[in-house]
Amino acid sequence: MKTSTFLNFLFLLIYKHKSKHIAISLISILIVFLISSVLFISSSIQKEVFNTLDAQSDFVVQRINSGKIINTPNSWIEDFSDINGVENTQQRVYGQYFFEPSQKYFTIVGIDLFEESTNKNVKKLLQILNIEDFLEKDSMIIGNGVKEVLKEFHYFDDYSFKLHNRELKKISIFKALPKDANILANDLIIMDISLAKEILNINEDESTDIVLNIPNELEHSNIKIELILKHLDIRVIQKEDIKKAYENLYNYKGGLFLILFIIVMITFVLILFQRYTMISSSDKKEIGILRAVGWSIKDVIKLKIFETFIIAFISFLIGIILAYIFVFFLDAPILSNIFLGFHNLENSVSFSPNINFSTISTLFLFFIIPFISAVLIPTWKIAVIEPSESMK
């Protein structure tokens, strides 16, 4: 069989039978679109989260009292710095602030602008910040969610925080974070560390927790023990544990979608199988005609494999392209909430493309093989019938 004439006939047949393929193509496109959208969202968030985590310190030390996390004395910084192998020990200040007018929570993060060992993300922020202007008056940088809420109540330039002593602390809005940061910083308010302490009612000589780095990974478990020996009332959290927790979270969510995908795929294959098993008399007749005019079973099967592959491939491609547009251009409305959760602040997230081609290839195989099998088995059953029977 000459490939060019065969392909000519194949495309002619697909084109002329387009109405027959539309329903199956639409279902296929929808399945691929949903699954690949989930994959795109999941890999984009994971990348974002892991990039942020990579910039974080190796260990977080919190103080526990009666099972409750309480503020950590800054004197511990020196205690921990004395341990061999420990680097960049520093305080962290953060906490939630209840914004009464809209009953929402903001997360206040205090940063030490003059601390050299400040983490990579903060350093990046400092590059776009004119520190002198920022420090000239009490200022803050706010996430987009915070900006929208404040705007709603006509706080465009500044906002007065309520302190523990019922006094008000007016802070200027220096700028809003870029939209790309929304996944992690939508509800964030970044300000100088002393201001943050004042608003969150943390003593000057205390912090929320202490972070430190241990460059030698082999020493992690030893140093963890030494940290506990220094102060028994502490909880030590390793970056690896946080990463694992995130991985589990996304694997769990991804797993749910995988189960969903398998269920949808099985249903789809059953529909396809039934569609071709209860093959219409015209389909059956077509195969009979081809056989009657000299096509062998092999020729008919080849035609059907190519026809099915092309339909499945085009559907897959359209599904992937639509998912790409939906996630990376339209920011995946509705679906993004399933992954990000419904926040206390409305979050309009921008996903940055992070496509894992091996996942796409696996998805392609899991889609195409059942698709082709579901069509071919019934087609083969008809092709082996005597042409005089199938043409009846």
């Binding site: 009657a292 000299g294 096509w295 062998s296 079973i297 020729d299």
Partner: protein, 222 residues
């Protein structure tokens, strides 16, 4: 030459519904002759025609066409045999309604390895021979019965086969189109084709180019 020896066809063999469609058929058809298989509906003429055309297999017996036994050929060989030696014209035309005339006629040539240029040439010849050239771009669903029949004839002729098998070719045609069909058959006979027509239409009685009439009744030659 086509030689049929002790041919039997039994449907639903060894079941309660067992039915003997053909019983010990023995016939010889010489090359370049036109033979009519005549019988009422259900007499077994279409079954015999489909076995002669390698579209179904006999339960027993043999069919020898040009010294080749085709009764038990495996699929690949029987398909190749059909493609090269036989042209079928069916009662219900059996065309692809969504394709146009030209596309339908080219279908038998696709698996044979011809280039597109060769296919176009062969299709053109068949179109002229069947007198349907003027409708070559027309979709089959828009054709009249007679035009569909001529398209089916062109498809049967496209690979220049030696044997043309026609199953009730005039059953769906009016008298004028039936006469046109007969004229095409006459032309094919002049081209030394072996023509076998299964029919019960009296229009084929006493045609000057018909060499033999084989009567079938209840699956037996009478």
């Amino acid at each position: 030459m086509i030689k049929v020896n002790n041919l039997n066809k039994v449907f639903n063999q060894n079941t309660k519904k067992e039915f003997k469609a053909l019983k010990d058929i023995n016939i010889e058809i010489q090359s370049s002759t036109c033979v009519i298989l005549k019988g009422v509906s259900g007499s077994g003429k279409s079954t015999l025609l489909s076995i002669l055309g390698a579209l179904s297999k006999p339960s027993s017996g043999d069919i020898i066409i040009n010294n080749d036994s085709i009764a038990k050929l495996p699929d690949l060989h029987s398909s190749a045999f059909r493609a090269k030696n036989l042209g079928f014209i069916f009662q219900s035309y059996n065309l692809f309604n969504e394709l146009n005339v030209e596309e339908n006629i080219s279908i038998p040539l696709v698996p044979l390895g011809f280039s597109q240029k060769e296919i176009n040439q062969k299709v053109q010849t068949a179109l002229t021979l069947a007198n349907i050239e003027h409708k070559k771009d027309e979709t089959v669903s828009n054709l009249s019965g007679g035009e569909k029949q001529r398209t089916a004839i062109a498809r049967a002729l496209v690979n220049n086969p030696d044997i043309i098998l026609c199953d009730e070719p005039t059953a769906n045609l009016d008298n004028a189109n039936s006469l046109k069909f007969i004229e095409v058959m006459r032309k094919l006979k002049e081209l030394n084709k072996t023509i076998i027509i299964a029919t019960h239409d009296p229009i084929f009685d006493k045609l000057d180019f018909v060499d033999d009439t084989i009567n079938i009744k209840d699956g037996e030659i009478t």
